[in-house]
Amino acid sequence: MTAIAEPALSDRTATLADRLRSAVGTERVLTDRTQVRTYECDGLANFKVTPAIVVLAESRQHVVDTVRLCSEAGVPFVARGSGTGLSGGALPSADGVLLVLSRLRRLSPVDADNRQVTVEPGVINLWVTRDAAPHDLAYAPDPSSQLVCSIGGNVAENAGGAHCLKYGFTVNHVLGAEVVLPDDEVVHLGGRAPEHPGYDLLGAFIGSEGTLGVATELTLRLIRVPEAVQTMLVGYHSVEDAAGTVSDIIAAGIVPAAVEMMDALAIQAAEAAVSCGYPEGAVAVLVIELDGPQVEVEAQFRQVEEIARARNAFETRIAADDAERALMWKGRKSAFAAVGRISPSYFVQDGVIPRTKLPEVLAEIDRMADEKGLRVANVFHAGDGNLHPLVLFDDAVEGQAHEAEELAGAILELCVTSGGSITGEHGVGSEKRMKMAKQFTPEDLDTMQLLRCAFDPAGIANPGKVFPTPRLCGERPGVRKGEHPVQAAGLGEVF
């Protein structure tokens, strides 16, 4: 094997690599710089760190062994699924182990009567629905990357998707998890039944972005495929009318399965990439999907059409069959990648605002973009106020990347000041951890750390993610609570 200018591993890391090889097999441990560089980033490609060691786990025992050896050596580990995350949550630690779970891909047979299935974390999201389909069941969370993203990654990030307006997020669809804690203890959280006595540690674990341990098996809830699904594509001459339609649908007491919105720039990009045939001249489009019993869907669909017309929709198309529905969704689901057709580079953001603030926040984003001389394409889950502004820039232009990053950050702060959140589904990861202090007080963040310290007192599970300032678990925020400075400095044990 050829190695290029390989910096020697530190003694500690080299010893760990040797131990890992004897525990999980030489062929599953990579330290060659060319090979490990493949894993230097996840879906957020502007953050890159080359890990010291990559372990390609194929069984729970490999995970347990890896975590145990990391724990003994005091070396951090980062779990990774398919690597499609958009917040740098699976960004490796330079001196640590990247634990790749994508080979843990077994699915148990679907338990149709209980509407459940148990899977390993590397299983691809769409495989679950594929296996469930013969039983007329489906796995509800459907992130746009569902063709490639893993269930383990979905659990780490509490992934959403277009249909979470009606069906909720990953946390609402995971019943149980087998978790390897950072000290290599294996615990079972939740299970096949609801209401396990004790703290809902499963609920706390889901969405913890790999900082509380590694899931090695997950039991998922499946939903009955609805009797009817109808999808419509609506074109507007103004963003305000599109946003108004969303509010009016909600006000009418209708909970659609999905309401997605794209603005002119996003439409232009999607057309260039996948020729989805969206209404010509549209300044905004909505993709609205209703599902449920046939009579309900038909009646509510008529109501939605009327609402859209009253809000000056100039074109309404109804998907006649699955092929047309797929084309409507293709434009939406390919939008991120499609923006690459109209701009050399872009930042994707993931802010959330109260739905009622949509028109004013969009107008403000426009104003902020104009001020910077940059373009922002907007693609979002309008039904639940989850914005995905794509800030376009050209990294060949001196300083533009920096300007774009500033604008993306300012948009997130706008979301927070509008009563929303810095992330709706992509997670905080490496990218937004410094923004956490905009949304939470120091007391809030310290309280979250209590949970972290219960699971991972040594702080070796995905360190440096989610929280702005990593804190040692013996350390207490002395200024606010009046601890002795020795304790506050982490030199004395408090508990």
């Binding site: 946390v171 615990v187 079972h188 004790g198 979250m448 209590l450 219960a454």
Partner: protein, 395 residues
């Protein structure tokens, strides 16, 4: 003297928590006052049991000690209801029924329907109480989008937010749901709301044998029908009624009720729910249990209950309430737990007559995560002053 200390009084027998009389009762009116009370309790090393409407005090085990009963019913403000966003922020002492009435005026509801009279939001969260419509709306963990808590040392902390979709930071709302005041006091809650369905239709089927509800509820759950609730009310070892509730637009509930009658092979249609719909079964002489198991195991769970047990089962969800005659309960509970264990089943005591309470294992086995739970408790309440002994494993 602050307002918080003005409301202090000595505890009496009426304030007892599972037989333990608090030395003192305090009823603060603001979050700041709760923080002040807890800071003072921390300084004095006193034990604290937070309570709301006191409708579910027996759902957790008796506390080892209760120096201070922290009555949170003074935190009774609905802070913000934004109808257009289908969200509401309300303090922990707001009664669930009052909140439903207020958001109901905007044609909205909070999708939680536990039957306990006088229940407050903080109590519903802390006891993780739910009712029949959990089939449709889920439980607190599915509806609570933000929370404010006060920890044992008086720290005020928030998690979540006011938007339905939000993955920033750890979800402490989940951690405090069902924690029975052992990690701190829940002082404010933010919820996702749903529109009130305009029409209702009920299908009621009399079953000579309750166990027949098992296959019927599986058939319903695997059909395209979308009932809000499927309730089994009656005797575990005898006759019972299966009540299927449809809530939607008029055209839909009419069609779905007809389809349900066809699928069930019978049943009467009506507009109204039976009076005992959603009530917990049995009376003060019984031991009330909450059973949970993999949803398809309903028939097995019913079969594991002793003769004469009254049940109210949320049939398609894997949760049942059972009123076991007190004379049977001490022997029956371990047998029941063993019988439903293969279905990942658990049984928790919600209420028991004084004569048998101490002879019942309140929570039952917890599994391999108990040590982790203990570590969580130690981090949040290192001096073990919040509701000590109320929770699983003596936490």
């Amino acid at each position: 003297m602050t307002a918080a200390t003005d409301t202090r009084r000595a505890g009496g027998p009426d304030d007892a928590v599972s037989g333990v009389v608090p030395r003192e009762v305090v009823r603060p009116a603001t979050v700041d006052q709760v923080a002040e009370v807890l800071r003072a309790a921390a300084a004095d090393g006193r034990t604290v049991v937070p309570v709301g409407g006191r409708s579910k005090l027996t759902w957790a085990a008796a506390p080892e000690s209760c120096d201070l009963l922290l009555d949170l019913t003074g935190l009774d403000r609905v802070v913000e209801h934004v109808a257009g966003d289908l969200t509401v922020v309300a303090e922990a002492g707001v009664r669930l029924a009052d909140l439903q009435a207020q958001v109901g005026r905007a044609g909205q509801l909070l999708g939680l329907d536990p039957p306990e009279d006088g229940a407050t939001l903080g109590g519903v969260v802390s006891a993780n109480a739910s009712g029949p419509r959990r089939l449709r709306y889920g439980t607190t963990r599915d509806l609570l989008i933000g929370i404010t808590v006060v920890l044992a040392d008086g720290t005020v902390a928030h998690a979540g937010g006011k938007v339905v979709k939000n993955v920033a930071g750890y979800d402490l709302g989940k951690l405090f749901t069902g924690a029975h005041g052992t990690l701190g006091a829940v002082v404010s809650t933010t919820w996702r709301l749903h529109p009130v369905p305009p029409a209702r239709r009920v299908v009621t089927l009399e079953l000579p044998d309750a166990a027949a509800a098992g296959p019927l509820s599986i058939a319903l759950a695997r059909s395209t029908l979308t009932p809000s609730a499927v309730e089994l009310i009656g005797r575990a070892d005898g006759s019972a009624r299966l009540v299927v509730l449809f809530e939607s637009i008029a055209e839909s509930v009419a069609g779905q009720a007809r389809s349900a009658v066809a699928l069930l092979g019978g049943g009467e249609e009506s507009e109204d729910l039976p009076e005992d719909f959603g009530r917990r079964p049995g009376g003060a002489d019984d031991v009330l249990l909450r059973l949970a198991y993999a949803p398809a195991a309903l028939s097995s769970a019913l079969g594991a209950l002793p003769a004469g047990t009254a049940v109210a089962a949320h049939a398609a969800t894997g949760v049942s309430y059972a009123a076991v005659p007190a004379g049977e309960a001490v022997d029956a509970l371990p047998r029941l737990r063993a019988a439903i264990a293969p279905h990942d089943g658990t049984a928790v005591v919600l209420r028991a007559p004084d004569a048998v309470r101490d002879r019942l294992d309140h929570w039952g086995p917890v599994g391999d995560s108990l040590d982790l739970m203990r570590r969580v408790k130690e981090r949040f309440d290192p001096e073990r002053r919040m509701s000590p002994g109320r929770f699983v494993g003596g936490l």
